[in-house]
């Protein structure tokens, strides 16, 4: 069975500093992994997706994530945080043959001026 664990429920950074949101996954086979972002009262938006091509995946808004099989990790990073990055971020693994998504509990990112 597939699962993801987001290691931090809350992360707080200052504007202009790097962002690191941590995610570990568990999967019985080569997984598809995603990061989604959810702004207040908005729908879930796909940031990026890993599907066994390149291990370093670039997404929208300057985010990227690196798939590390040896560490079963898929951490999300951004070099410089912007105020508009404040949101809830979900690490997600795809299970089954029909894109069933399994979400982590989420990390709330706060960005301070």
């Amino acid at each position: 069975a597939q699962s993801v664990t987001q290691l931090d429920s809350h992360v707080s950074v200052s504007e202009g500093t790097p962002v690191l949101l941590r995610c570990n996954y568990s999967s019985s086979y080569s997984p598809s992994l995603f990061w989604y972002v959810q702004h207040p009262n908005k729908g879930l938006q796909l940031l990026l997706k890993y599907t066994s091509a390149a291990t370093l995946v670039k997404g929208i808004n300057g985010f990227e994530a690196e798939f590390k099989k040896s560490e079963t990790s898929f951490h999300l990073t951004k070099p410089s945080a912007h105020m508009s990055d404040a949101a809830e971020y979900f690490c997600v693994v795809s299970g089954g043959g029909y894109n069933k998504l399994i979400f982590g509990a989420g990390t709330r990112l706060a960005v301070h001026p």
Binding site: N41, L46, T51, G96, I102, A105
Partner: protein, 113 residues
Amino acid sequence: GAGVSQSPRYKVAKRGQDVALRCDPISGHVSLFWYQQALGQGPEFLTYFQNEAQLDKSGLPSDRFFAERPEGSVSTLKIQRTQQEDSAVYLCATLSRGDSPLHFGNGTRLTVT
């Protein structure tokens, strides 16, 4: 429309009432998912349709929950005899064929009083 549309946006029900939540998918999207997102949690899978066929309903929490998609387009999630623990945001997501991403609606926030 351009995206997945869910209605109503907000629903308040008294305990014991029945509710019906609607999802209008993107035109032509074959796959449709329902998710439940409790406050402070990640979305949890409820059920999956491929066209009109409900292929997976393993996530429905009780027999009070029922979903249908009779013509393979609009879907309705029905909750009978609502309980306080049913309070959550209910998300609909759809997917066209192939390796395309899920498109999420903005959800229906259900509050059971």
